[in-house]
Amino acid sequence: MSRITLAKGLNAGLRKAMEDDDKVLVMGEDVGKLGGVFRITDGLQKDFGEDRVIDSPLAESGIVGTAIGLALRGYRPVVEIQFDGFVYPAYDQIVCQVAKMHYRSQGRYRLPMVIRIPFGGGIGAVEHHSESPEAQFAHTPGLKVVACSNPVDGYWMIQQAIEHPDPVIFLEPKRQYHADKAELDESVAPEPLFTSRIVRPGQDVTLLGYGPTVKTCLRAAEAAANEGRSLEVIDLRTLSPLDMGPVLDSVRRTGRAVVVHEAHVNLGMGAELAARVTEQCFYSLEAPVLRVGGFDTPYPPARIEEDFLPDLDRVLDAVDRSIAF
């Protein structure tokens, strides 16, 4: 048992995966000596060598494209994209190749690779360092997309993603990397990878979050509790496939749902969740599913990013609107 940050959890999880399976490789920009700009791969090259922890030339399409080749040769590459905003040069390889090869080959090609992307904002960075690209990947069949929200999940989910036979887009809330610590008890078996989880039970409204917004939702629920309102918080954890079971159960109980993400509202995960929840809980809904997200503008300069990002108050405002509907 030890208290770890998300960064440490991911680092330990990667290390474990590399120990367990020598086909596991880590690739990306600065993942070697530097240990990545967030230090998630810290110490791995020292212990596993340059052949398994590969500093790549500065070219994201090249990183993902060569990782595909390594996967076809039997390796399990874990690719680090340095920041969310830099995944787009690799977008073609991801949506046309990574996502489609299994289907194209009728299952003969397996691509057990993981693409790690630190995502989300709130770190005071310049442009392109605070994006939330998840919807674009979740829209693409053939990819699986997960987001961790806390150190313990980070530790387990990265291992599960690496073990998984399909390609996984693995989203890490960078704002949380070095934020809160949590107790890791390795003797407690993790939940399966593609499941959502109620992280705080409640009766009045269901809050759906993932990655960085789980914390926002939990804080909102706490604040609401002080006012006598009981909010249920679900950490979606998996964005594609969605695990609708817990979500639908919850909304059938509460009759109200608010989805919270940093990505733009328009065509974000909230749209899909709203559509599905409405279709499947039509007669249980007391109000339409509301969405709190990044506005439909590019990410603004850092000094006003906290206005752009959903926060406790905007979540509570949506809760109010849902209840008043």
Binding site: D51, P57, A59, S61, G62, R73, Y103, Q106, Y109
Partner: protein
Amino acid sequence: MTASSPGSADFGPDLVEVFGPSQSDGGPELIQLLTPEGERVHHPDLDIDFSEEQLRGFHRDMVLTRRIDIEATALQRHGELGIWAQLLGQEAAQIGIGRAVEPQDFVFPTYREHGVAWCRGVDPLKLLGLFRGVSHGDWDPAEFNFGLYTIVIGAQTLHAVGYAMGMQRDGVVGTGEAGRDAAVVAHFGDGASSQGDVNESFVFAASYNAPVVFFCQNNQWAISEPIERQSRIPLYQRALGFGFPGIRVDGNDVLATYAVTQAALQRAREGQGPTFVEAYTYRMGAHTTTDDPTRYRLSTDVETWKLRDPIARLEVYLKRNGWADADWFAQVEAEADDLGARLREGCKAMPDPDPMRIFEKVYADMPPELLTQRDEYAAYLDTFEGAR
């Protein structure tokens, strides 16, 4: 020339001196071992003694490959294929490298490597199936060490480099053990050389010294665009900018293509890293069966290139030396007829996939939501009963 600001340098023609050349001057030009007239020429460093059998084999491969192309083109005209990417004229380039790769090597094709597929043992019917629209590629890459066709221009070159990096990690490069040491072929076209991915594949291959042969069939056209749009210097020189050797071989000369690619492959297997081989050839066919080349190229060009036909020159060479007689040619022709018949029948007989295949193999497992979509669609189809 105008001096535009105080202290401006005296530049002009002399400045060629300062800036150096704009391309590699000299270096080897087009490597040829068999002239268009069927004369054998020798090259000091590529001194191969081809056996009669090998030469006849090349001939047979090229004739059969051409027949595949002709049949497929006809099948498309008859509505049996959605489209077909023709290779007419590129047989020597493809058979040359197709016979130079060894079983343990791995090949990443474009969408036009029908001759290479033939050499790797892939049933041409599988190629037809892709262009017919019954599959996206129905051969097992692992069985033939021949990847699936790649439609997105250039994407496969990076896969090739990654695969080669895997070989390095597997310890099958530079061990000196024949039959074990392996290399990868990355196919691409002249047009593809402009894609970012292809250039990144050069960067990665050079950086890791990966065992890759970049095999560019420069057929001088990317659909309607001439090679000059993509490069103003001979393409093989692109490699020099990335720090590995490039070479241009007569892609209509099966002997030269074989010799050069075999040497480049061996270089890669030995751990000497990547090579760029430009097979200089010409696309006598259209880009695909939906293309209309009369809109952009001169028919006289096609005529010129007919005189450099890769099959004709080998036939002349074989005949002149008495290594193949009328019987041989008749036998190959008969084989081609059989193959053609088999393809025609096989293609027409190819059933459409079950619509429910839409839902299969998206993932290693089937997520619940997709299961629902599948089941609902199955139930929906059932409502039509005999209707479908």
